[in-house]
């Protein structure tokens, strides 16, 4: 076996050990070392050179990145998650026929879908979904994400929130927590459009807060334009619908004059 490959494999073993110990700091350092090592393999994307060890290398690299993704979830670092997932993706998409599919593939893809849902990037969510084969949709992890999205779109927010209890994978919990916040934002947006004002108690219930305190905090943080008075929350829709009364007369005059001049110049 190639010495380089062995070296990386050993490093990876140490990483796994640290991961098992839950020693996250060690994991991060080891991971970045691993990644640097990986750049030295020409068989990896984007080059895909057909070296004798290509299959092993690809498998190992995929394994490393899968762990990196899971690690980023553990660290609750969404940026790192995105970064690692993007780097992992070519191994799923472009290596069919070279290495067998990974057992972790669908859980991780589902995780990514969930992340997109959390970040409310619905368009990208559907793009990703389109890329998946039909049979993948039956996989519980993917199915879970798809169903969540449907409920989310329908406005069946209670179903979204209750789905937290039925996660197909333990890593999903983190995102499910985040999803609750996304749902709240959606509701807040809808209420803003739908009502002129809401009583504080209604608003509290609607936005799923247990106390007035939390509601107040939420409002000051996320929607400072809302107004609380007389025990109600006012959404101040009136402000937006103020009609624009000024007529751009100068601009119109200029335009008309230039038309006239252009007409003159028709040859």
């Amino acid at each position: 076996m190639d010495p380089k490959l062995t070296e990386v494999a050993q490093l990876f073993a140490r990483f796994k050990a640290a991961y098992a110990r839950n020693d996250l700091d060690a994991c991060v350092t080891l991971l970045s070392q691993l990644k640097v090592q990986l750049t030295k393999f020409p068989s990896l994307p984007p080059l895909f050179q057909q070296t004798p060890n290509a299959v092993e290398e690809l498998k190992l690299a995929r394994d490393i990145y899968e762990h990196a993704v899971v690690l980023s979830v553990k660290l609750e670092d969404q940026d790192a998650f995105e970064r690692d997932f993007c780097q992992l993706k070519p191994y799923y998409m472009d290596t069919c026929g070279i290495i067998p599919p990974s057992p972790e593939e669908y859980p991780i893809l589902g995780l990514n879908l969930l992340r997109l849902l959390v970040q409310n990037r619905i368009a990208e969510f559907h793009t990703e979904l389109e890329l998946l084969p039909v049979k993948a949709l039956d996989h519980p992890c993917i199915k879970h994400a798809v169903e969540l999205e449907q409920s989310f779109m329908e406005g069946a927010y209670n179903r979204v929130l209750s789905a937290r209890q039925a996660v197909p994978h333990e890593t999903y919990v983190y995102f499910m927590d985040l999803l609750a916040k996304t749902v709240r934002d959606e509701i807040a947006g809808c209420s803003e459009k739908g009502y002129d004002s809401l009583s504080i108690s209604d608003a509290k219930q609607m936005l799923m807060f247990s106390s007035d305190q939390e509601l107040h905090q939420y409002i000051t943080e996320e929607h400072p334009e809302w107004e609380i008075k007389n025990g109600s929350v006012f959404f101040q829709k009136a402000k937006e619908s103020q009609p624009c009364k000024e007529i751009p007369s100068l601009q119109l005059i200029n335009q008309t004059l230039s038309y006239a001049r252009e007409l003159e110049r028709i040859v």
Binding site: S32, P45, P46, L47, M93, I98, V267
Partner: protein, 1065 residues
Amino acid sequence: MAAVATVSSASGLLAMLQEPAPELKLHALASLNSVVHLFWPEISTSVPTIESLYEDEEFDQRQLAALVVSKVFYYLGELNDSLSYALGAGPLFDVSDDSDYAHALLAKALDEYASIKTRVSKATEEEENIDPRLEAIVERMLEKCILDGKYQQAMGMAVECRRLDKLEEAIVRCDNIQGALSYCINLSHQYVNHREYRFEVLRCLVKIYQTLPNPDYLSICQCLMFLGEPETVASILDKLLSGSKDDALLAYQIAFDLVENENQAFLLNVRNRLALPAPVPSNPDTGSALQDDQTASTGTGAETAGDVQMRDDTTTPNGNAHTVDPNEVAHADRLTKIKGILSGETSIQLTLQFLYSHNRSDLLILKTIKQAVEMRNSVCHSATICANAIMHAGTTVDTFLRENLVVIHFYLLPLHRIAALAISLSHYGVVLQEWLSRATNWAKFSATAGLGVIHRGHLQQGRALMAPYLPQSGAVGGGSPYSEGGALYALGLIHANHGEGIKQFLRESLRNTSAEVIQHGACLGLGLAALGTADEEIYEDIKNVLYTDSAVAGEAAGIGMGLLMVGTASEKASEMLAYAHDTQHEKIIRGLSLGIALTVYGREEESDTLIEQMTRDQDPILRYGGMYALALAYRGTANNKAIHQLLHFAVSDVSDDVRRTAVMALGFVLYNEPEQTPRIVSLLSESYNPHVRYGAALAVGISCAGTGLSDAISLLEPLTSDVVDFVRQGALIAMAMVMIQTNESFDSRVGAFRRQLEKIILDKHEDTMSKMGAILASGILDAGGRNVTIKLLSRNKHDKLTAVVGLAVFSQFWYWYPLLYFISLAFSPTAFIGLNSDLKVPKFEFLSHAKPSLFEYPKPTTQQTTTSTVKLPTAILSTYAKAKSRAKKDAESKANQEKTTEEASGSTSGKAAKTQEKDADAMQVINSYLFLHCSHIFKDSWTPSTNCISCCSKVDNTAEKKAPEPEPTFQHLTNPARVIPAQEKFIRFIEGSRYVPVKPAPSGFILLRDLQPTEAEDLALTDAPSTVAGTTSNTAAAAGQQGSGSSAMAVDEEPQPPQPFEYTS
């Protein structure tokens, strides 16, 4: 592993860029660089990230980042950003890369560099600093081109980037220096827009030329002429003249080439710098003196042979009367000859002889016009006279005038040496024929001036010819001022651009008169004769006329001043401008504004302030002059800025005159790229404004003149049937200018156009304007006896000053019909004239590798066509028609039979007579062709040889099997020959013939090297309209003008005594 994995997205790599570890970033960048051509759309969203990497001072691979960004920008089409990042990439940006990216960026870099350099050269004090990185890239590229042997590319880039040092390097390192230099000269004329810079390039080229062991003097002198350095040209000529005989030939050739560019001031300068030859007596009238000397020294064939011998072997004693050193004699002789050439005398005289002997004008066309034109319509009447003048321009054939004009006996005067003396002033003014009497006042002026066009270039007899009409000092009141003025104008036309001899006389005439009509003629004449000489005294004389503030004289004075100052950009222009603001007369303003425009001829950027001043003036007439100034300053440069400005005025000015002129001016700016003009003005030609349409028509006419360009004809065709009369007029004239010398077999539309002209002229209900246009168009179409074309560029791609100026003033005929005659300045003969070392025309044959019919003269019109158009269709009964057709067929077949027998017996081929063929006609054609051809081969001792007979009989046999071949694919031409521009590319010289051309040009004046100098030479063109024994005086007569009306005159005969004619009063 059957499946080869490919990446489907760059998102992984992009994500890697965000990694904290620099190694990963580096890896990501390197990988991105290799896939950027596939994933640039994806990468483009992350460009800010990569840019921040480039800007990160600590990142050690900033250049790589720059390269990636540059590539992305390239794919996004943002070449400017791309270039600036590519520069940031430093050495990573590979000039020798063979990718689209590298090519595009290099081109961009060059453009950028060139434009910066151009800007730098314009900015006077503040210097724009050039990015050294950019410069480095360009230099790397130039170096690479030179190393790869792509010298032309390197030269082009160097010229464009204003790196004369690199240009010089490229040329010197090139393996074919001569070729490189001529390429560069072309380059500088075609692509260097900036005049100053062009001069620099040419100076650089001349410098290189002079370092060569075997310089190409022809090209050097062309450059020097452009640079305006007569001293150097003179010294080169002098050196060549003292060299061998071949060197002398080369010197003559150079002189002819210089003359072709018509730069009078320059030529005079060169001539004056050449040492004065000893045997020539000093004479104020140098022209005639030279002529005499020339004829004297090379008078007889024996003497010529002696001269030749003398040159080959200097020890041979010379049998001549001169006792001086033969070497010196030879040198003096050559000096005289070259001065003759430089003065234009030689070429003008040869041209005159050529035009006279090859004149093929069709008098029937004129006759038709004359009959169709109404008596009372003076416009058409004058137009007819003008058309006649144009048709016979430079041929000295004035048959039509003599048959028809008022002043008929005046014209005949010079023909009869004795008669000229005998007829006294008392005969003047006798009205001979009723038709002629129509020419009154200005028409008389025009008619007399027309004589000048006909006798254009008749330098020796010019004054004698015009003598009867010229103002007589002392005897005032003899002739009408109109004919006197016209005569002065005519003298100007005869001596246009070669007015050394006549200037003095014209000045005196101008001073001695106070009649404004005479002043008018004299101003025009002086302007023409002293074209571009910037003579201070003449200027003062004309200015005095201008300050009399008479409208008629002032207009001509304005134009005359302009002609005098052509291309000098002197400060006189502001003086003229000031007077134009003072005066009340529109005519004077117009004359002056055209004059001002003429002064800036060819000065390009230098004239921008003046142009700006004129085009912003309140007075539309001055703006109109501004358009002319733009046209002339940027003549034939296709300068984008000028075109842009003209188009702007063409659509935005409030005055129709200005708009019309602006469009027309496009023609002048674009004449070096005639293919472009129809495209540029095509929209304007569909304008709602008739003035713009008229301008568009003339613009095409001017820039495509003589090209027969199909696009141009297609554009003009609809305009010839425009709803507005003057548009039709313009279109007809323009069409004639485009189609000049194109015959029907070259473009079938020519025939249609001729028929259209005839129809318009004969149509009683046609507008006067378009009728006049049609008459003029007929004249232009057959100009100069069908042997001239309108050419604004000389063969060396120089602009022909006289021609351009001529057309510019000609286009003024809108306001003043007599200016029509200026078109004659634009005519240049389409001839190949080969000359031997004595500047005689030897018999010499060469080939034209094309069907003769493509370039032959149009067929002369027959009486039939003129009458048939008037004839009404008669009803024909079917039975009658059948019988008639049967009868016709019989007659035809009979005729054919007869012809065959005749032909056969004529060719002494007995066999041919016996063969009875159905296809008799075809065979006859082949027979006669071969017969002729054989006669060419055996021309020296031609008797009906057996060879020829067998040839004919062979054809008889083959004709039975083969389809008839109607036309040969080549044609023998004999020196001097008519070679029209379209034909030039088919001209080949026959190898092994006695004479070898000094330069392999297909037309123009070509010096021929004689390979058998000892044998006697067979000369052509010995007869000329101007073979005169005496000196120039009023007693001289044009002996060549036989009275017969036939245009095909015998070439070799001695001039006949004048034929008797009667005066009928």
